[in-house]
Symmetry: C2
Subunit: 354 residues, 2 copies
């Protein structure tokens, strides 16, 4: 396969150590699979914002758009770096998701053997993907909310184009993804609050229109409250979930809790021309630089990056190595979500099993 250029945003807090871990795993798998991967660091995050006034310098965003095949991103953000309206600066989500128009935020939720979970389900009973719309919904208000001393407001807006492309993405994914729900039936669950809100009723209408093009995939509906319930009570039901931005954010953390925590959960942000890959958790500055963070989400995000480049065998190799490390007990996660063998210990355990 051709040489690949990969941008690396190291991020804030635990970001750099996680990204180091993932790059080490990527380099090792590239060796074994004969891939040529070239990594270059690009700036971005809360520290960058503090230094430059931009979460990402505009030239760097341009380079991400034009010079790379994909971007690996660490978690970003520092709680003390805030804007005047009280929201956090330097989170990069607004810049990257809108700037690269990566409209599909893909979040697989999968319980691995050997992983401790607070729910009474087995591996194989939790294996679904949340497709979170990434460019509109309630997040469209990010940085654009209004307010004074007496009230504040944000808007949840969905467009026909935005709904169509995300629903189509979800149905295509249901056709092609390797996992499946316990009953083996392919389905796309539309999650919304269409019984109460007009924007969500619109979302569901567009879902129905697009679904008509996929008679082979089961249509399925949940109001957002019922979805939250069922992700805990009956996760085996789900295959692909498609939902609005704010709901997708919340439901993916909920799903993460059922598979051992945020440290287990990778994600892909995918657009027509660009894509980037990141853990779904934050930068945990409190434990930064102490070799305590779990790099699994970052490593699994790098597997999604390889999938995106068409390198499925290399991607599978990483996923198998991660699964083996947990199944064999080489990696154990304590109650705070931290690996007892340290960040570097997890990296070693995975690399050894590639």
């Amino acid at each position: 396969s051709p040489p690949r250029r990969i941008a690396v945003i190291r991020g804030d807090g635990i970001g750099p150590e996680l990204v180091d871990s993932a790059v080490e795993v990527l380099s090792a798998v590239a060796d074994r699979e004969g891939l040529e991967l070239h990594f270059s660091t690009e700036p971005g995050g809360a520290a960058t914002y503090r230094e430059t006034g931009h979460a990402m310098p505009p030239e760097a965003l341009d380079r991400l758009r034009t010079e790379y095949d994909a971007t690996l991103k660490g978690p970003v953000g520092l709680p003390e770096v805030r804007k005047a309206d009280g929201t956090e600066a330097g989170l990069l989500g607004g810049v990257l998701r809108l700037g690269l128009d990566t409209y599909a935020n893909v979040r697989p939720i999968r319980l691995l053997p050997g992983v401790r979970t607070p729910v009474r389900f087995e591996p194989g009973q939790i294996d679904y993907v949340i497709v979170r719309e990434n460019t509109e919904g309630l997040y469209l208000s990010r940085g654009a909310g209004v307010g004074n001393e007496r009230a504040a407001a944000d808007q949840l807006m969905v467009t026909r184009e935005g709904c169509e492309r995300i629903v189509r993405f979800a149905f295509e994914l249901a056709r092609t993804r390797s996992g499946a729900p316990a009953d083996g039936r392919r389905r796309v669950t539309c999650v919304d609050k269409s019984n109460v809100l007009r924007s969500f009723a619109f979302f569901r209408r567009v879902y129905d229109e697009v679904a008509a093009d996929y008679p082979d995939i089961e249509r399925d509906y949940r109001y957002s409250d019922a979805a939250a319930h069922d992700l805990v009570a009956d996760p085996a039901h789900f295959d692909v979930i498609v939902t609005e931005n704010f709901l997708g954010d919340l439901l993916s953390d909920l799903g993460a809790a059922t598979v051992g925590g945020l440290g287990m959960c990778p994600s892909a942000n995918i657009g027509r021309a660009s894509a980037y890959f990141e853990p779904i958790h934050g930068s945990a500055p409190g434990i930064a630089g102490q070799d305590r963070a779990n790099p699994t989400s970052q490593v699994l995000s790098s597997a999604m990056l390889l999938d995106h480049l068409g390198e499925h065998s290399a991607a599978e190799r990483i996923r198998r190595a991660v699964a083996a490390a947990y199944a064999e007990g080489a990696v154990e996660i304590d109650e705070r979500g931290q690996p007892t063998c340290g960040t570097r210990g997890v990296t070693r355990a995975v690399v050894e099993r590639l």
Copy 2:
């Protein structure tokens, strides 16, 4: 104690049979405690909407405001009864919550002994209350969203007054409620997405201002995604949760899943001058009239009604009887959330233990 007038909205679907069950329990407890309760039926719900064009006739709403001490409400709504914008008609939430200005939606989440749950926690580890703001937030848009064929939007608006009164309600509840988190420390957790959205940053700012009046109660914060995670992974942490309307809707169903389902979860809607009490689940028309629905949520809602009237000993009596019925195995809930002894069987089991 003085005679009490209680309005009864029987509701749609399984509503009538649940309300019958709760009224039977209330009447039995009134006998034993020497209370005088007078019940009158008032119209409301999707069937009412279909007949009259109003989810509730305006005169009935007036009566609720002026002639009763409290209202017991069954679940309402029929999926086929909809407005032109696609949202459901006849859900009554808009009419009652705004019409009676019942700004505090109080939703206790408590795991009872003998109840099957999908999470690995014991009774005593899940015992918290969600205080959902009930009159603004994203639901303020209900019926007021905008849209055409290309886009649709709703607004999430919070006001200083709305935030202040709900946060104050939550802190007062933390001082007085009987349950407590496992570590015994009183806390009010503010759940929002203030890192991204200005409205939520406003909500958190007002939370901080009000919290200053309650130095005896611990301040606590969760972003909405982290809250969804922690309600599954660490429910014992929570005592009182205060949050916006839409988030409260979702998080309470999530919490319900951890304590055996929606059928276990009562709620109170409380305002300065009015209050009504209802299960947090819907009207399940598919199983209506078949003696299959679980009336526990409705029965526990009637206990909250008694608490509101100051009849704490009668309320406790109902709660103890419900807990005993489950603990002794007299009531068992199957995988669909339905009692194996039927709706009436649950009623009998509770009445026998009063």
